[in-house]
């Protein structure tokens, strides 16, 4: 079994007596790309902020590489990179200067920092624009600079909050490729929150679905799919037919005693279906 990198135990957060996050249990293993799925306001960002030690949990705890996020936030933040939703930079500074500030805050020696900044700007494809003021950047470029900021501190785990919102399809493609590259080449564990299922399906090795502050499903997409089928399957039969049955046959099956429901199903649940089902129930 692989090492568990991020673990949340009974993590709960109240805002003015509203349970925003409701005893979440999460486990992310080393090397995974974990997709954290849920609609807006489900508690994704709150969970992430608690994992980083930027918000205190009401109860429960999060550990990253064995460090408690609430009690040892500096140790956690040293090995964890965070890309906030709507990442912002100092607009009157250049990309290079912005990254320099981050390396300084991380206490990375100037000499190494210089090279590291060049390297990450090349990775995200901003080497040409390194000395341009960030105020002149497009949204997609800013997001890529955000990825550079994630990489520059050489983290062991990167938490990306909605990394693809507000970006054009080509930009999204670039960001997703970067994430996969990060995971494979730099061996960084990734937690990625999103409400865009299609993207997550493409790159994530595991997913967790959160709805109204609760984790409603967790595991690989196949596992969740099977679980979903299982719950429907009690006392039910699945028949594979090709081509479709005629309405006459269906009618006669319906008339058999004990049959109360006939459902047509496509061969496999897409993530979309899983998602919608959970949110209808939640």
């Amino acid at each position: 079994m692989k090492k568990i990198v991020l673990e949340a135990k009974n993590l709960t957060k109240f805002y003015n007596h509203n349970k925003v996050v409701d005893s979440i249990n999460l486990q992310i293993e080393e090397g995974e790309i974990f997709g954290f799925l849920g609609p807006n306001g489900a508690g994704k960002t709150t969970t992430i902020l608690m994992a980083l030690g930027l918000t205190e949990p009401s109860s429960g705890e999060v550990n990253i590489f064995g460090y408690n996020s609430t009690r040892e936030p500096l140790k956690v933040k040293r090995i964890t990179s965070y890309l906030p939703e709507n990442v912002g930079f100092y607009e009157d500074l250049t990309a290079q200067e912005n990254l320099k500030y981050i390396t300084r805050l991380n206490n990375i020696p100037e000499k190494n920092a210089e090279e590291k900044i060049k390297e990450v700007l090349k990775i995200v494809g901003l080497a040409e624009e390194a000395h341009k003021e960030v105020g002149k950047y497009s949204k997609g470029m800013k997001q890529r600079l955000g990825m550079a900021a994630v990489l520059v501190k050489e983290p062991k785990i990167a938490i990306l909050d909605e990394p693809t919102t507000g970006i054009d399809p080509k930009g999204v493609e670039e960001i997703l490729n970067l994430i996969v590259k990060m995971s494979k080449e730099q061996n960084i564990t990734i937690m990625l929150s999103s409400h865009l299922l299609y993207q997550v399906q493409k790159i994530c090795t595991k997913i967790g679905i959160i709805s109204k502050g609760r984790i409603v499903a967790q595991g690989s997409i196949q596992e969740i799919d099977q679980n979903l089928l299982k719950t429907n399957q009690e006392d039910s039969f699945e028949v594979k037919v090709n081509p479709e049955l005629s309405p006459v046959v269906l009618d006669s099956i319906k008339k058999i005693e004990g049959v109360n429901k006939i459902e047509k199903k496509s061969s496999e649940h897409s993530l979309e279906e899983i998602y919608i089902k959970y949110f209808r129930e939640g």
């Binding site: 930027l54 906030p84 990442v87 607009e91 300084r104 900021a149 501190k153």
Partner: protein, 313 residues
């Protein structure tokens, strides 16, 4: 500690290169230099008002014709400088989305607010001290007035008092920048409070004092003194008043009391100047009060900031 240092130097670099710093510096420099210059041109006119023992200090406190004195400008513009450096310090980070980026780095949360406060105060200090030095140079060159040791000491204390005074307005600006998400709201509220403490409190103090101890033509001196005492008590809530009293005592060695009592008691005293330690004794309560106001204001902003949610949106 590393975090504090990094934030401090980044903020310093931002301030010193910023347009607001250059504009402010130019305005204050122009005003103070012109005050001193006009005064020095017409020095013979005011010669009777200036004590020869403390000629150098008197140039700061005497007003020349229609232009008010240098210390009036500090007590008037000081708050504005503090507010300008403070009112957008936190909420602009928030609205730009840089706050969560910075705080997700391995630094303590207070490094951000402490670094910002110290950097702004240092910038203001640099601004103030260079203006004082420029004026000093002008007086040396144009008038040939050489300050004596005590005058330099008093100028030093004046500098410290001004820093604390502007520090109060700075921490108030920071407080509002934490409480209000909009920079315009925090700027407006800060300016409103400044106007209240600088102008409205004068009216309010005398109205309240007159309500408690009504004065009429037959009032005895005791009643008048009582009225004045109440008025002064209310006035001293205002950092502007506290600062003005401190500066009067520091830069005017003959000042020994404030309010109506200064008129009554002084008649029987020898018109000699006070030594620096005695001047300090006179305004010690005001000094402590001003420091307390600044610290309380900063402490409140610190606590609110530490408890606040860090949300990107």
């Amino acid at each position: 500690m590393n975090g504090l240092k990094v934030v401090f130097w980044k903020e310093m670099a931002d301030h010193l290169g910023s347009r607001k710093f250059i504009i402010l510096f130019a305005i204050i420099l122009a005003i103070s230099v012109s005050v001193v210059y006009i005064l020095s041109q017409n020095i013979s006119e005011y010669f009777s008002e200036i004590s020869k023992e403390y000629m150098f200090l008197n140039l700061f406190t005497t007003s020349a014709g229609s232009l008010p004195s240098f210390i009036f400008f500090v007590s008037f513009f000081g708050p504005l400088i503090g507010i300008i450096f403070g009112f957008d310090s936190i909420n602009s980070e928030r609205s730009r989305g840089t706050m969560s980026t910075v705080l997700s780095q391995p630094i303590y949360r207070d490094a951000l607010i402490n670094g910002k406060f110290l950097a702004s105060l240092t910038t203001i200090g640099i601004m103030l001290i260079s203006i004082i030095l420029i004026i000093l140079g002008l007086e040396l060159g144009v008038l040939g007035i050489i300050p004596n040791f005590e005058e330099i000491l008093r100028m030093g204390l004046f500098f410290v008092a001004s820093i604390i005074y502007i520090g109060f307005w700075l921490s108030m600006g920071i407080l509002f920048s934490i409480v209000f998400r909009q920079t315009t709201t925090s700027a407006l509220i800060s300016v409103m409070l400044w106007i209240f403490f600088a102008f409205f409190i004068l009216m309010i103090a005398s109205v309240i004092a007159d309500q408690i101890v009504p004065l009429n033509q037959n009032s005895t001196l005791e009643v008048a003194a009582k009225n004045d005492e109440i008025k002064n008590m209310i006035l001293r809530i205002s950092p502007v008043v506290l600062f003005q009293e401190i500066v009067i005592a520091l830069l005017n060695p003959s000042a020994r009391a404030f309010g109506i009592s200064s008129l009554v008691k002084l008649n029987d005293l020898l018109p000699t100047s006070l030594s620096i330690s005695q001047s300090l004794m006179v305004i010690w309560p005001q000094f402590v009060g001003l420091i307390a106001l600044m610290l309380i204001c900063f402490a409140i902003s610190y606590i609110i900031f530490m408890r606040q949610e860090i949300r990107a949106t």
